[in-house]
Symmetry: C2
Subunit: 248 residues, 2 copies
DNA sequence: CGCCTAAAAATTGTTTACAATATAGTTTTC
DNA sequence: GAAAACTATATTGTAAACAATTTTTAGGCG
């Protein structure tokens, strides 16, 4: 307990805290977490690679406290594994985990699409088209980091239309868990092109208020990544005991 | 300093890193986060109350580093709000947030129940009955902390039957976000009793493999808590602009 | 009397140093 | 010569001190 000050809750009449909406900087540690995430996404850091606090502190020109924080955050996100007194390493996902995550993702994303209020405002459609153009441009130029982020923005805007903040947040959370495995599908140019065309079709369905078509597109859009990852995994480690779908 | 000679338990001559799946202790910081969570759940800490690092360090007999970590974790969970350079405080949820969270919870929990493989093994049913008895006993004795945890265990076991680890984890995550508001419903003894009876009915439905009934129970079981919270909230702050359901 | 300004206190954010623990390498012993 | 014990090194975990920021308090001025 504090020795002198116990003025925990100050009931100030004329000072609404709501005004303190200072959306400050993302707290340094979050930035570092993001950068490490990026490295994992792009395959610059591969599973089982160790993440040493001091190295990262030097690299990001900060102190170990923030790096530590970032590593704990990434652990909770499921992107790295941390063993007490031993350190952190990039975590590899098993095919089973990937299947389970994608099964839940599919349910949530379909749910989001199901509750989007139709018709969608023209301004929202235009916004999606703009994001789609950015995505296509990044693909054309082969800028993988941009492909990654523009794709993220497109889906963020799409699911954002559903209006339920908690649902959006949860969808993002699950997407983050499998950031790392996208590089497997994105290695093939035809996968990128298919994603691009899917986005176009989604916009078309949105504009025509064809919900069933949009749902089907959403489901189809999620298939290639886990499949590519699992194929690569089984080719690398053997395909023993890989059957069993978690959701019917 | 190395006075211990037999402590060295390195039974690994080479370097089989794969075997190092030692699930160690919950890392101190996680424990602190849990304790604070508990305080919030039981109403011992109320919204807008400040959480000061040094105070908590003294209270939990540890250093600020761990407390800091815990506060960041709780922030990400949505239980506390942190403003840079100003500190952390217990976060109060708006009715809208509560509605949105419960809407997604309902979808996820129904999903889990929908994919439970039927029939359920007798041993699983017995396990649920045992947990139900613990819950009932805790209610009878008025041990609120025990009520909380035994309820948690019951639902954990129930949804655990669905077999999808990611889904279970996500359900837990959303449940955690609204831990704090349960105290509103649990203040009424009749709410506790109704929860108890719901659990009994769920077990009955499980045993009889009546899925539709189980789904309906799951949905009904989620209703009282947010309703009680929102009533209390509107009574306290006025009910301006509270309409609008996030999910149809 | 209220409001603005400036010192003081309280709190968070950062840096550094140190201790505990695990890993790797070397020596000893049978 | 191989396995166990020891030493050395690397890395994480903890503690304390320092700096930066914010909040409170007090005082002066209109």
């Amino acid at each position: 307990m504090a020795a002198k000050s116990l003025k925990q809750v100050k009931a100030r009449p004329a000072k609404p805290r709501e005004a303190a909406t200072t959306s400050r900087e993302p707290a340094a540690a979050a930035l570092i977490a993001k950068r490490i995430e990026e490295d994992i996404v792009l395959g610059r850091r591969h599973p089982r690679e160790r993440l040493i606090e001091q190295d990262l502190s030097d690299l990001f020109r900060t102190h170990r406290g923030d790096v530590r924080l970032a590593l704990f955050e990434l652990e909770k996100k499921g992107l790295v594994e941390r063993i007490p007194n031993r350190g952190a390493m990039v975590r590899g996902l098993t095919p089973l985990e990937v299947r389970e995550i994608y099964a839940v993702r599919e349910e949530l994303e379909v749910l989001a699409v199901r509750i989007i209020p139709f018709p969608v405002a023209a301004s929202d459609i235009e916004k999606l088209e703009e994001l789609q153009r950015q995505h296509a441009a990044a693909i054309a130029k082969g800028e993988m980091l941009n492909v990654f982020y523009s794709n993220l923005r497109f889906h963020g805007a799409l699911f954002g239309l559903c209006g339920n903040a908690c649902l959006i947040e949860t969808i993002d959370l699950l997407a983050q868990k499998v950031y790392g495995i996208r590089s497997y599908a994105n290695a093939f140019p035809e996968s990128l092109d298919r994603a691009r065309r899917d986005h176009l079709d989604m916009i078309k369905a949105l504009r025509a208020s064809r919900r069933d078509e949009l749902i089907e597109l959403t489901q189809r859009h999620l298939k290639p990544s886990p499949e590519a990852y699992i194929r690569a995994y089984e080719q690398r480690f053997g395909s023993a005991g890989a059957g069993g779908l978690p959701l019917p």
